[in-house]
């Protein structure tokens, strides 16, 4: 810890690939599995996470001098819960259909480990700038991960992307070729499992080539 920490820019970049919250840190798996049935839901979720993460990191960073060790987790959760409620109500007020689809998974952001983890690891120790950069980086990493999973699931499961039907259209005989499993829990687990494997494989290959530990 004595060393100079990474710069805000590095933090931003780290969050996206090298320390991707889903693929590298295995954080926040629940929403990752639950809302990646289609791209629209996944992206809405990512936006909500971005909002909550930035909000919570900002507040935590601001009050970091006042934190008491044994109460800090409580304070993080309270802060996060507040922002989540705001996000939830916002969705309900302005994108009602999506809010209905995401259902309880928006409030579950409260207990999403990514956010607590970032508050704990970064925001409670860093300046505002670093905290914001970190939050945005991590959120983009999260969004990328969700997007990759949702793309696979939506393409195979419905032949569409962001709801735009590309193949296996409704009403054609090809509709029977849709992989309905992708819209269901097993599909979510299997897709994430395989993509995770692929991500680790790439990371291993990368490590071997560059001989650098990420």
């Amino acid at each position: 810890m004595a060393k100079d920490g990474p710069t805000p820019l590095e933090r931003f970049i780290h969050g996206i690939i090298p320390e991707n919250p889903v693929y590298r840190q295995l954080l926040g798996m629940c929403p990752t599995l639950a809302v990646t049935g289609n791209m629209a839901a996944a992206m809405t979720m990512s936006a909500a996470v971005l909002f909550v993460m930035v909000g919570a990191n900002v507040i935590t960073s601001l009050i970091r001098g006042l934190l008491k060790p044994h109460l800090r987790i409580l304070i993080f959760t309270l802060t996060i819960a507040t922002f989540v409620t705001i996000a939830d109500k916002f969705l309900a007020a302005y994108v009602y259909q999506m809010s209905k689809e995401l259902g309880p998974y928006v409030p579950l952001i409260i207990v999403n480990c990514i956010i607590i983890c970032r508050c704990e690891v970064c925001a409670s120790k860093q300046s505002l700038r670093a905290a914001v950069a970190d939050a945005v980086g991590q959120s983009i990493g999260f969004a990328l991960a969700l997007a990759s999973i949702a793309t696979v699931r939506e393409l195979l499961g419905s032949g569409s992307w962001f709801g735009i039907e590309l193949f296996w259209r409704k009403g054609t005989p090809g509709e029977a070729c849709r992989w309905a499993i992708m819209n269901q829990p097993p599909g979510a687990f299997l897709t994430l499992g395989l993509l995770l494997g692929a991500a680790v494989w790439i990371a291993l290959a990368w490590n071997k080539r560059t001989k650098v530990n990420i």
Binding site: L67, T79, T85, K89, A93, Y96, R178, A180, N183
Partner: protein
């Protein structure tokens, strides 16, 4: 002693206060809009549920409750109102909210009926959790449209392939169970409602 704990936790207290207030503000600001959304969502179904456009739903004075050997069944009932002559709104039909088991989970429906509850005027699916790609096709307007115009007295039946009789509904292919479930829910709700219709009429 106690104040010691409180002093330690002053930040928590302060934040609790602020957050409570902030959330209340959110509620005050967006609450009505959210309510509106919910209402609109339910209402957006109505024109298709009842004959005639521009109808509006008003909750009936009372709900229908039926208790028999199968237990207590409760339906929320709405009156479908339409602007009639002279700006007076007149009732043009009924809407019954019904719930029952589907393939995977409960299915929640709105069933539209004409004023005398003799004909089904339409059907809407409020909530369902059927298999995507199979059972959830019961949401499709084209499929639901089959119900419009069916006699409310008969027993609807989901069949595979083209329906022959009047009381038959073509099942969603690969999801006969879901389709039959919808029929069953409608059948029961309509029957229960018709049994209580005189009482509701009396209220007016």
């Amino acid at each position: 002693m106690k104040s010691g704990y409180l002093k330690q936790a002053w930040l928590v207290l302060a934040l609790a206060l602020c957050f409570g207030a902030a959330l209340a503000v959110v509620q005050v600001a967006w609450g009505p809009k959210i309510e509106q959304n919910k209402e609109n969502d339910a209402r957006s179904q109505i024109p298709r549920l009842v004959v005639g456009a521009g109808a509006d739903l008003t909750p009936a004075g009372r709900n229908v409750e039926i208790r028999d050997e199968r237990g207590l069944r409760a339906y929320r009932v709405y009156r479908a109102m339409c602007a009639g002559e002279g700006g007076r709104s007149v009732q043009i039909g009924w809407v019954v909210k019904a719930k029952g088991p589907g393939y995977a989970d409960n299915i929640e429906l709105l069933v539209g009926l004409d004023l005398k509850a003799e004909t089904i005027t339409g059907l809407a699916v409020l909530a369902q959790n059927e298999t995507p790609g199979l059972g959830n096709a019961i949401k499709a307007p084209a499929w639901r449209r089959q119900f419009a115009g069916k006699a409310a007295g008969g027993r609807l039946e989901a069949v595979k392939g083209t329906p022959h009789a009047d009381c038959e509904i073509e099942a969603v292919s690969g999801a006969t169970i879901s389709s039959q479930s919808v029929c069953d829910i409608v059948n029961r709700a309509v029957a229960d409602f018709r049994a209580k219709l005189p009482e509701l009429r009396d209220e007016e």
